[in-house]
């Protein structure tokens, strides 16, 4: 079995277990302030790091390329509160144009 299949299946099963455990334990265990602050922060830090890695690295090397224009247009669209599909399409267009022009 390929490493991708292992990651797909193991993550799928682990995430289901987390959901099921959530449905089965007393709510008060997870409502302590410190726990809830940390669990709010975890997705924020992971996703912020992912944005950096996916936008500005190539095979772990720091890279600034055609993706930068897509990221700037995408971030600008998010801040301007444009609808989600519009945001994605504008970002794709900016990145694709820059890529094809070999800038």
């Amino acid at each position: 079995m390929s490493s991708k299949w292992i990651a797909v299946l193991v993550t799928g099963v682990l995430c289901f277990i987390l959901k099921y455990v959530g449905h089965s334990i007393p709510a008060k265990w997870l409502e302590r302030p410190r726990i809830s602050r940390i669990t709010t922060l975890i997705p924020i830090v992971l996703l912020s790091a992912l944005v950096g890695i996916q936008a500005f690295t190539t095979q772990t090397k720091f890279t600034v390329d055609h993706r930068l224009s897509g990221i700037i247009i995408g971030a600008g669209s998010v801040i301007a509160k444009l609808p989600f599909p519009v945001t994605i399409i504008l970002a794709m267009a900016a990145s694709a144009i820059t890529y094809r022009l070999k800038i």
Partner: protein, 212 residues
């Protein structure tokens, strides 16, 4: 009646983003089958995008599993909240657990009466599940047909999706600083540690900032 209509509306609009996931998975050298199994089994947008993102940037399966699972932990917290409303047992709890996500929980707790909370949870959960899976398949097959995904801008879809998810959540100064610190940290160490590690190690920032 309007609860059902609103729930299905959420399902259609959120599910449509499955097209983005399907195409990103193909751009990240996953197969159509792997993209579809992720949407069926994992069924959690951020975890799915992250898993594909970590592995396609060269990360190990372990780094992908840990990142995806940390991101999925949020649904466990929603589970405790929903369990106190739904009070399910047996197979109904199994099904409810699988469709416990941002949208189904959010729509349910926005209702005032218990009946409507149940309706909103089940309708939203099933609607998102249905459309997300169909759209994943369409996006994956479509991207497969395209070929060079960078020429169509697909390589920025995933980070822009994350920016769209993150921005409204950065409501306090602490959250903004934590996000900036994680972004900077990951880029500073990417050339000196194995792929996947720059992302995973930011959990320490979450613990540090959230401790006090």
């Amino acid at each position: 009646m309007s609860v059902k209509r609103d729930s299905i509306g959420v399902g259609v609009s959120v599910g449509a983003a499955g097209v983005a996931f399907g195409s990103v998975a193909i751009a990240g050298h996953f197969t159509v089958a792997q993209a579809c199994v992720l949407s069926l089994l994992l069924f959690s947008g951020a975890s799915q995008f992250a898993l594909v993102g970590v592995m396609s940037s060269g990360g190990s399966p372990l780094a992908a599993i840990l990142t995806g699972t940390f991101l999925g932990s949020r649904n466990g917290l929603y589970g405790t909240r929903m369990a106190s409303i739904l009070k399910n047992r047996g197979w109904r709890r199994v099904v409810a657990a699988q469709i416990t996500i941002d949208e189904s929980t959010g729509m349910a707790i926005a209702q005032e009466e218990t009946d409507q909370q149940h309706t909103a949870f089940w309708f939203t959960g099933f609607a998102v599940f249905f459309f997300w899976n169909i759209c994943t398949f369409l996006g994956a097959v479509g991207a497969k047909a395209i070929g060079d995904t960078a020429a169509w801008g697909l390589d920025v879809v995933s980070p822009v999706v994350f920016i769209a998810v993150l921005w409204p959540r950065l409501t306090t100064r602490n959250l903004k600083l934590a996000a900036l610190a994680a972004f900077t940290w990951a880029l500073c160490i990417t050339e000196v540690v194995p792929s996947g590690v720059p992302i995973l190690t930011t959990v320490a920032i979450a613990v540090f900032v959230g401790w006090k």
